[in-house]
């Protein structure tokens, strides 16, 4: 407005804010290419060796700093993560979308109850949900493994899909469905030709969000993963707890790239709608 110095101050703060957000990430990416074998924070040379190393390729660094004892373990964790994320995304997208349609397209007395029920898993601290699931599974002798992880993830991912799809439904003009009925289309055809195409960006957005969150979930998985069903975040967390080694830089960078790709995909779908 009339106070340019105020605006300038805000801009400076904004740029510092962006710096605070990005600097740590950039540091990790940059140092993932650092070849210094002893102190990873002292820049020596540019190298791809850490990337080769995590995939079990022989490098000149291998001798001193071989850290990922088994590339197989890492790949198994990646495979588990993808399997869990894929399954949970499919299930929670179907169930979450169905519930959003029910709650936002019909009037019934239990509506506030359902809104509360679907709000709860989102605000429940993950440690609470994690140990509640652990206690539950052990008490009812349900084997901890991929299945328990999938069930655990679905309990809160349904809510995320629900929220995203309901936002879309709330923004949708419901006279469109009336118009379709008015033009002779029965409920199923109306759903197929009007409702579904219009909420599809929300459904895809919800699915992508569910996929990312499932891929990233650490706390809940940490409690309910069995011995041989480690996911990628739990695997890396384990590595971190044992000490910081340069390969983690490379793994982190790869995960960064993967996350950015998915996020951009999500943005693309939102732009298109």
């Amino acid at each position: 407005m009339k106070h340019p110095w105020l605006n300038r101050l805000l801009s400076v703060h904004g740029l510092l804010f962006l710096f605070f957000v990005y600097a740590p990430i950039i540091i990790v990416v940059v140092y993932s290419f650092n070849s210094h074998p002893v102190n990873m924070m002292v820049w020596k040379d540019f190298t791809f060796d850490w990337y080769l190393s995590i995939f079990g390729q022989p490098t000149e660094l291998n001798e001193q700093t071989l850290y990922v004892e088994s590339t197989d373990q890492l790949l198994a964790a990646v495979k588990n993560s993808l399997l869990v994320a894929g399954t949970t995304t499919t299930f929670s997208t179907l169930v979450g979308t169905a519930m959003a349609l029910a709650v936002y397209r019909y009037y019934f007395r239990l509506k506030p109850f359902y809104q509360g029920l679907l709000f709860m898993p989102m605000v429940m601290p993950d440690i609470v949900l994690g140990i509640a699931l652990l206690v539950f599974f052990v008490n009812f002798s349900i084997k901890l493994g991929l299945m328990s992880i999938i069930i655990g993830h679905c309990t809160f991912l349904i809510s995320y899909v629900f929220i995203v799809v309901s936002a879309r439904l709330a923004g949708m003009d419901n006279t469109l469905e009336e118009a379709s009925a008015d033009l002779g289309a029965g409920p199923w055809i109306t759903f197929k030709r009007v409702t579904l195409p219009l909420i599809l960006p929300g459904v895809v957005g919800g699915a992508l969000l569910a996929f990312i969150i499932s891929m990233d979930d650490l706390v809940i998985t940490y409690f309910i993963a069995g011995v041989d069903s480690t996911t990628l975040p739990v695997f890396i967390y384990g590595m971190l707890r044992r000490g910081v080694k340069p390969e983690i830089n490379a793994i982190a960078t790869l995960m960064l790239v993967f996350s950015f790709l998915i996020a951009s995909l999500g943005l693309y779908f939102r732009k298109r709608s």
Binding site: E178, A179, S180, A181, D182, G184, A185, G186, I189, R193
Partner: protein, 369 residues
């Protein structure tokens, strides 16, 4: 032809109640009965909340009645879902499918009904021509102006050749000029198609311009049904008089004097009226501004005189509006024409005037004791 075949829609003692947001019940339709004849342009007119949209939605099938019946083409449509009713609607916000093109929107009803592609294309062409949108087939609704969207909504409805077209305040989103030209277009479209249009509006000018019959609704009840000129000149109730056109309205009791009956209002104003009412009757007198002029030098029995003071004259283009104040403090407007206007324009604000109206012209509603 039998009676049943002639009336395309019949509503019988329809009652519909909604729970009010602040508790209690709102009666949207209070025992409404209505017959709409084939080929007519019928308007449901009333203020917001009068039940006109609810009435429309019970005909299209989006609302069920609490009691009463709706007959379309002589058959009851009780429990028939909207998609099986032979009527189509033009929605207030047009409700065009944003993900479909113009042609996708217009042929939607035909596709759903399983009409063959060749016939669909033929009818699409015809419908778009009729609304003047040929060449717009591939546009998306968002790329169209408000008026064009309105035409798409029309084409999408009429392409299905409904027995009855329902229009829910379709012109309310358009600006004034466009609205006026669309009024005329709608009227001629209805004439060409020969199907019945049931049009909902709260705009009395729109209703008077377009309709063959106007149904005036208030608080869930029908106040009056009739052609526009009847409603204007012979309103059946005070509500209709107030709602349609400008007027000065006086309510009071009739007292007989030696010359003629006089309507005496509660605050003691006496207005001579023509023969007809009996002493003691409760009556409402409606005087339109165009019926008022300055009193002639030697008034005879056919005119009534009101003493007033000119407050201000307002330029109205073709005429002036003269705002006068009666002895009891009520404002009354006159919009005389021609020589009468000229005579009036020579009066200065603050001067006393004698206003005159011909006793046979104003309308008197008599509610007997």
């Amino acid at each position: 032809m039998t009676q049943a075949a002639e009336s395309i829609v019949e509503v019988k003692e329809a009652v519909k109640r909604f729970p009010a947001p602040e508790g209690g019940v709102v009666t949207a339709l209070d025992s409404i009965s209505l017959k709409v004849q084939q080929g007519q342009f019928v308007t449901l007119l009333g203020p917001s909340g009068c039940g006109k949209t609810t009435l429309l939605r019970t005909i299209s099938g989006f609302e069920d009645l609490d009691s009463g019946a709706v007959l379309i083409g002589g058959e009851s449509v009780l429990g028939v879902p909207p998609y099986r009713r032979p009527v189509n609607t033009v929605f207030q916000n047009y409700a065009l499918f944003p993900h479909l093109s113009v042609s996708g929107n217009v042929v939607y009803g035909l596709e759903v009904a399983g009409i063959k592609k060749t016939e669909r294309d033929h009818r699409l062409k015809e419908a778009l021509e009729r609304v003047g949108l040929s060449g717009f087939e591939r546009r998306k609704p968002a790329q169209l102006s408000g008026g064009q969207q309105q035409r798409v909504a029309l084409a999408r409805a009429i392409i299905n050749q409904p027995k009855l077209l329902l229009l829910d305040e379709p012109l309310s989103a358009l600006d004034r000029n466009l609205r006026q030209s669309m009024q005329l277009e709608l009227k001629s479209l209805q004439h060409d198609l020969g199907i019945c249009f049931l049009f909902v509006t709260h705009d009395q000018e729109e209703a008077l311009t377009m309709s063959d019959q106007v149904v005036v609704l208030n608080q869930g009840r029908i106040e009056q049904i009739g052609p526009p000129d009847l409603l204007y000149h012979k309103p059946a109730t005070r509500f209709v008089a107030e709602f349609i056109g400008d007027s000065a309205i006086f309510s009071g009791r009739i007292q007989n004097t030696e010359a003629s009956p006089v309507l005496v209002t509660e605050d003691g104003l006496g207005i001579p009226v023509g023969r007809g009412p009996k002493p003691g009757d409760h009556a409402t007198l409606i005087i339109r501004p165009e019926n008022l002029s300055l009193a002639p030098p030697n008034p005879d029995d056919s005119v009534s005189i009101l003493d007033a003071v000119l407050e201000q004259s307002v330029f109205r283009g073709a005429t002036h509006q003269y705002v006068c104040v009666l002895p009891n403090g009520t404002s009354i407007s006159a919009t005389p024409t021609g020589a009468d206007d000229e005579a009036f324009s020579r009066v200065s604000p603050g001067d006393s005037v004698q206003l005159a109206f011909r006793r046979n012209i104003p309308h008197l509603i008599i509610e007997s004791q």
